[in-house]
């Protein structure tokens, strides 16, 4: 097959009505095929089963880190929710002053509190 025919085959293989399996088979027949080098499988098996212990440990470590992160994040969110509920129950609102604990204080009393007079 010459170059122009190869190009036509490539373009026609993308037609929506073309049979994709047939098109890919024809391309393979024309030498358009892909594979990894010799020893590909052995390299993978060596990495997995010889150095497998190290990789396994790394994966386990990452999994536990992930788990720990979620636990900490969830605990944090729960603590914030409890804090918000308790502020709302004690102060009766969730205003900024309630957060600071000064919702019942007048401006003068805050000045007195800060200056000590």
């Amino acid at each position: 097959m010459d170059t122009s025919e190869t190009k036509k085959l490539l373009i026609s293989s993308l037609n929506t009505d073309a049979d994709p399996i047939e098109a890919s088979r024809r391309l393979e027949e024309e030498g358009i095929s892909f594979d990894f080098s010799k020893g590909f499988k052995d390299k993978i098996l060596h990495k997995l089963f010889s150095a497998g212990l190290t990789i396994n440990r790394e994966v386990e470590f990452m999994k536990s880190m992930n788990f720990a992160f979620y636990r900490i994040a969830l605990t944090g969110v729960a603590a914030i929710v409890v804090l918000l509920i308790s502020i709302f129950l004690m102060e009766g609102s969730l205003s900024f002053n309630s957060f600071l604990g000064i919702s019942d204080s007048y401006d003068e009393s805050i000045v007195c509190l800060l200056t000590g007079n």
Partner: protein, 186 residues
């Protein structure tokens, strides 16, 4: 050496045996799906040593994610999804790297290796495909790889890429247009 019996074993049995640490069973999975992974990875990254590394990474990731494989989808689809994700991540990583250090275009990021034992015509055909694919936008290249090299239907392509069928069809049509323009220049 692969056990004789594994060459005819079903994929679920191979997965179970691999989960039990059976090296030969996992070796059989690699043997069965290496060409499929090669088409995706080399179709997307070019025929280079980097593609070999990503190919290995695909199977290593598969091995460690086998406990999560429930057998609801075909193993080939599961592997294909891993291959697509790792390849797209690699392309993103390379784009970031090259945008920092170089102004070169995509096509210059890859090396091509054509097998010596191929005839001149076959070499030429492989080179045309490699060059055309590398000149395409990533979003079109992945569609072309799935359709042209893997022979997947529109529905299968949509499932693997997590895209609506309509999007796959429209990208397929635009990919064909882009491929036509690229091939004119080659």
């Amino acid at each position: 050496m692969i056990k004789e019996s594994y060459s005819v074993t079903g994929e679920n049995e191979l997965v179970k045996a691999s989960l039990n640490g059976d090296k030969e069973a996992f070796g059989e999975i690699v043997t069965r799906y290496r060409k499929m992974v090669a088409r995706t990875v080399k179709g997307m990254l070019g025929d280079s040593v980097f593609a070999e590394d990503i190919g290995q990474e695909v199977f290593i990731k598969l091995y460690f994610s086998l406990p999560e494989f429930r057998g609801e989808a075909k193993l080939s689809t599961y592997i294909q999804k891993i291959a697509v994700n790792l390849t797209l991540n690699e392309i993103k990583r390379r784009k970031r790297f090259f945008s920092m250090f170089s102004q070169k275009g995509n096509t210059e990021m890859y090396e091509f290796e054509v097998a010596d034992h191929d005839t001149e015509e076959r070499k030429e055909a492989s080179e045309i495909v490699n060059k055309a694919l590398m000149a395409m936008d990533t979003k079109f290249r992945i569609i072309v790889t799935m359709r042209m090299l893997q022979g997947y239907s529109t529905k299968e392509t949509a499932e693997i890429l997590d895209l609506p069928i309509g999007t796959v069809l429209s990208r397929l049509s635009r990919a064909q247009e882009q491929l036509r323009n690229i091939l004119k220049k080659l």
